[in-house]
């Protein structure tokens, strides 16, 4: 089908793979930022077709995975209240909190509903004036404009019964944190195409030059990822460290300005805790004081809830590209998508779930 088939064409894939083999002379470690890219890599078996010198490590760009445990527990607390309709994207319902998940709250009688857009949650608030409607506003820069639009509409209409539980994080501060760590092995990045659709790619220029890493804005289809890898490897082999845009059919240098303006109108930059990683300064979004009437943490008085992460799950190291899912003792044994220890095993963008679903045997290529 149009816009899909041409990016999954086996003949073009073969040509790009041959070119990657031809230009690669040394070992390189490349991180794809976004969990959507991780899943595309594992689902299509792209890693099986690359030269053995190239190691792809999987980045922190899975919004469900990095949402800290205490935000999940706040969601469970709010969703359990009788006067609340708690709305969320489907992914979040199976993420384990300290004791249960949103599915369990639903089976216990909580009114938990999957919505496909935060504006559907605003609509629910209009139709249910006697209920508090809460939307779980999770995600990176990609989902921020939609969530901002929902809050903006509710604010403009004076909808007092609509609020959002915010767990919004930003990519560039996380990249800087990873690159600054002494354990860092990453030499080049595939930046997250959809994040850059909103934000553009200018903010990656100082990161590329300061840390001397090539950064290629990359899409999600097999052709996109192969081409992104090729561009990063070419730069690495030539000793370059620039920002390039592979995903030019969607991403502009300046991004989507109206979307950025809307984000600024509703959110301010704040410190955020990342599940498995810890707090990163100025790495997230919080509602501005003007929008605080729509902040579920304040409406339901759960802002002070603090929860420690369990030690048994290594998802933090997986999210930083330090370990592969199959290096975890619990992987595929006590930790499966059905009984997840961490969110990386739940989300459709989590690295652990990608390996579990598509590459069970230690990530080794299945023989043809």
């Amino acid at each position: 089908m149009k816009y899909l088939d041409e990016y999954r064409n086996p003949d073009i894939a073969r040509r790009i793979i041959e070119e990657i083999h031809a230009v690669t002379t040394r070992p390189w470690v490349i991180m794809e930022i976004c969990g959507g890219q991780t899943h595309s890599i594992i689902k299509n078996g792209i890693d099986q077709l690359l030269p053995s010198e190239i190691e792809l490590v999987h980045g922190p760009g899975c919004p469900v995975c990095v949402t800290p445990l205490e935000q999940i527990d706040k969601a469970l607390e709010i969703a359990s209240r009788p006067d609340v309709i708690f709305t969320s994207f489907g992914d979040m319902l199976r993420v384990p909190g300290s004791e249960k998940d949103l599915f369990v709250v639903k089976s216990e009688g909580g009114d938990v509903r999957i919505v496909y857009s935060p504006l559907d949650a605003v609509d629910l608030a209009r139709k249910n004036p006697d209920k508090q409607v809460v939307f779980f506003a999770v995600g990176f820069e990609t989902t921020a404009p939609n969530n901002a639009m929902a809050v903006w509409q509710a604010h403009r209409e004076g909808l007092k019964n609509f609020s959002v539980l915010v767990s919004h994080v930003l990519v560039p501060p996380a990249m800087i944190a990873l690159l600054s760590a002494s354990s860092n092995r990453v030499q080049g990045y595939l930046a997250a195409g959809h994040v850059c659709t909103v934000m553009g790619w200018e903010e990656y220029i100082p990161i590329a030059s300061q840390f001397e890493v090539p950064i290629v804005v990359t899409g999600f289809e097999p052709m996109d990822i192969l081409e992104g890898v090729l561009l990063v490897v070419k730069q690495l082999e030539q000793g370059k460290a620039e920002v390039e845009n592979q995903y030019s059919r969607v991403v502009r240098r300046e991004g989507n300005r109206p979307a950025q303006d809307l984000i600024k109108r509703v959110f301010r930059i704040s410190n955020r805790k990342w599940r498995g990683i810890g707090e990163i300064p100025a790495s997230g979004l919080t509602l501005t004081p003007e929008m605080q009437d729509h902040d579920a943490e304040l409406v339901f008085d759960v802002a002070d809830l603090k929860v420690e992460e369990p030690a048994e799950c290594i998802s933090g190291e997986v999210l930083q590209g330090l370990k592969k899912p199959f290096e975890c003792d619990a992987f595929g044994k006590t930790c499966t998508p059905q009984t997840p220890l961490g969110a990386t095993m739940v989300s459709t963008e989590g690295a652990c779930s990608a390996y579990y679903l598509y590459h069970r045997k230690n990530g080794a290529a299945l023989k043809s």
Binding site: A13, G90, V104, Y116, S117, D120, V138, H194
Partner: protein
Amino acid sequence: MEQSKTRPSATEVNPDSFGQCPLPITEHATVQLSHGSGGKMMSQLIDQLFLWAFDNENLKQLDDQAVLTMNDGRLAFSTDSFVIDPIFFPGGDIGELAVNGTVNDVAMCGARPLYLSAGFIIEEGFPLQDLKRIVVSMSTAATQAGVAVVTGDTKVVNKGKGDKVFINTAGIGVIEHDHNISSHNLQPGDLLLVNGSIADHGMAVLSRREGLAFEIPIESDTAALNGLISEILNAGQGSVHAMRDPTRGGLASTLNEFAANSEVGIRIRESKLPLKPAVAGACEVLGLDPLHVANEGKLVVAVARDRAQAVLETMRAHPLGKDAALIGEVIAEEAGRVSMQTRIGAWRIVDMLVGEQLPRIC
């Protein structure tokens, strides 16, 4: 379906513990929606509770129907309940589905379905006009499938204690051949055929669910497959080893059940899967794998390699099989595993759905 071979049966355990499972049903103390979604959790519930409690040779086969040996032949017997929301959807309704679903379950072992029962659980206040529409639709579907609804039951529950209408149907058919057609009977070397595009029903229903504000030109594929099956059996000349309709849990669940029950490996090719562009697009938008999405008028056939072409041509000549395709093969190695060659030539595992299908965040 996954079965534990070491678990004690109900009759072997202490009677005092009857009603308590010998093993916990995963981590949950209460029934979750995922326990009914056709994936791994449902498989565990069946294995750990129902099979344990009702332990018998017929049930243990875990096929779509029980094959019962009578004095002078074999009968196929099956039941299914229908709780679909919405009850009217593009391409069909709950009544048509209730007839076709059970007809198909009976027919998958090569039986000729003859009689159905129909049980209705109706919520107080449900419009009689809608009930009539559903029943007329059942009657039409039964006539088309050549079966008669010969017994029934009606219960009305208080408002709020049900959701509009639930229908249970059971069906009986006669087996007029001597072959063993079962999910336990796949043979290495068999080829796998499907009678047309996958994931149509699931996406048609999803497109009408509350909150999903897009309309896609997709209709449910609900259909009674007994006519097609009869022609497949003629063309197969005894070489059809297994048939199953990939309903909830989609093609992925059916193939995994085939691989597990027959202790064989299965390989399919992504490029060979019939998929309508609109369905493919809707799955992409929602982040759903079409291999996990329900079908209601599709079947997968495992047939010996030397008869596969003849069966495929027969399927393509039938109105319900004109888009039939050869999607893969059965191998002796990798027992229990289903893998798929991706479009770009690599391989990946195809697993059963875990829990509910969840649309992704972004």
